[in-house]
Subunit: 332 residues, 2 copies
Amino acid sequence: MRNRQVLLVSRPTGVAQKEDFAAVEGEVRLPDEGEILVRNRYLSVEPAMRGWIADVGNYSAPVAIGSVMRSLAAGEVIESRHPDYAPGDLLTGWFGWQEFATVAGDAVVRKVEETDLPLSLSLGVLGINGTTALLALNRIGQPRPGDTVLVSTAAGAVGSAVGQIARLLGCRTVGIAGGPAKVAACTERFGYDAAIDYRAPGLAEAIERYCPDGVHVYFDNVSGAISDAVYPLLAQGARVVVCGTASIPDWSDWPVGPRVERHLLVKRARMEGFVIFDHAAEVPAATSQLAAWVRSGALRYEEDVLEGIAAAPDALAGLYRGENHGKRLIRL
Amino acid sequence: MRNRQVLLVSRPTGVAQKEDFAAVEGEVRLPDEGEILVRNRYLSVEPAMRGWIADVGNYSAPVAIGSVMRSLAAGEVIESRHPDYAPGDLLTGWFGWQEFATVAGDAVVRKVEETDLPLSLSLGVLGINGTTALLALNRIGQPRPGDTVLVSTAAGAVGSAVGQIARLLGCRTVGIAGGPAKVAACTERFGYDAAIDYRAPGLAEAIERYCPDGVHVYFDNVSGAISDAVYPLLAQGARVVVCGTASIPDWSDWPVGPRVERHLLVKRARMEGFVIFDHAAEVPAATSQLAAWVRSGALRYEEDVLEGIAAAPDALAGLYRGENHGKRLIRL
């Protein structure tokens, strides 16, 4: 049985481009004792992959050159020598950008229980993106009814969930996104009270106009110039969720920006980083809650599905070109 | 009865200098109904006064030009037309840089209960500085036994208390201070496990050497280049207490520095601003705890006492020249 795989072959300083990956083909390895063989159905494409590839300080060791690109995937067990898994089980896990994965049990993130919903959701709104949105918003953002919650990459896989969950919790929601189509998706599809196009002039003025009481919660996926416009408009006691730094192409030449300390002091505000992998114990309950909202129609999502593993090498670069609408996946 | 007062007469962009103040003399005004007349014994001099004077965003309205310089002071009630206060009561409050204050009851911060201890302490280790140290360290720093707690302006009025309290809580303490005398005070007087002179070369290397497990709590009073050396060395889950920004002379031309977002994300770290005036309800219990530590000898302090109100106009500038050792006060 042949296995097509996508390897990381060079380490870029910025976003990995098509040329940094290579497609190879080999034999599927049968599982040893304690391992399972998974046929991947969906591969995930995340903004965070840039960090997983980079050699600069991150929350995990960088993907080794010449190895299969690290990725979450959703697939079906086709052979098992592990007591917890049986053929036919649907799983998400660290299965990589490849058609088949032969892995130990610790590569599994979870069994997919929501078999009434599309499997692809287990990588997005019911996966890393939705659970990040819910847990980071609750733990760090601590939104109270009536708060103004401002979200960057507001139409993205995490941001769109944050906006909708904040609204379910009784908050006023304001989204920041790039370009008219994403701005329209914010208000028309994801229920934001207002949305701002950061590519249009007057970003700070627009934030001030739509957040007249200041920003109580800033859920940030970008850092950079967008965040610089937000900090002076934080409300007293504001919480900033640092969830991503998508606007910074490269931290090997560390960028400067306006200092935040004075804003934090004067507003008694808090900034805190969030990485979902620290919160495994809370993921099952969060997933159930998200699934219930999806079933009831309270939580909408958007997917951007590429076809076939040949789409993988350019998929991450495309994400950073902003060409996707919603969670980017590769269907095998 | 004559009252000598120090007025703010111009608004500097940086630190207020001697010339920005003027000494005047007038008649003491007798209290109206609901007011008290206080004879000030000690006037306080705080780094935060720079912010109270500045026209740029702060946590209180700027001191008006031509008015008595805003200041905490400790004094004795000599006449009262307020039901809660009687002649002979010792009080701290917003009594200003003047010999006598005729004020309403809401200018009082608290009655001094620790009459067995020197009155001057009510403005320092038992006042704004000590309570800031204890409450900010506990609420934001959340130190756990074995944590490494790094403190900037470590020999100062707030920092010296932070270091000692952290040590009482079972932490390893590392101080950063300017010049050999303050560095020596850190280890010899305030019990720091190690102290670093930020004026010597190799600040980042020294922090790394003395904090081999990373910095779990960074109690920051300075911002700027010192903090920039600390952020890359934060431990996972670190807490940064943003208590002051003493190294930044002027926020009207907003300074830039290395971005902090990536550090906060990668280390899942938190930064939060603290202003003691938000925590009035917790001050009495904190003061009792601090007084108990002072009585037992567990909490040491240093005072830098200037004599007479004529010392006031240059007292703040001198603080920023770093000439004080410990809490700066003016004795009347």
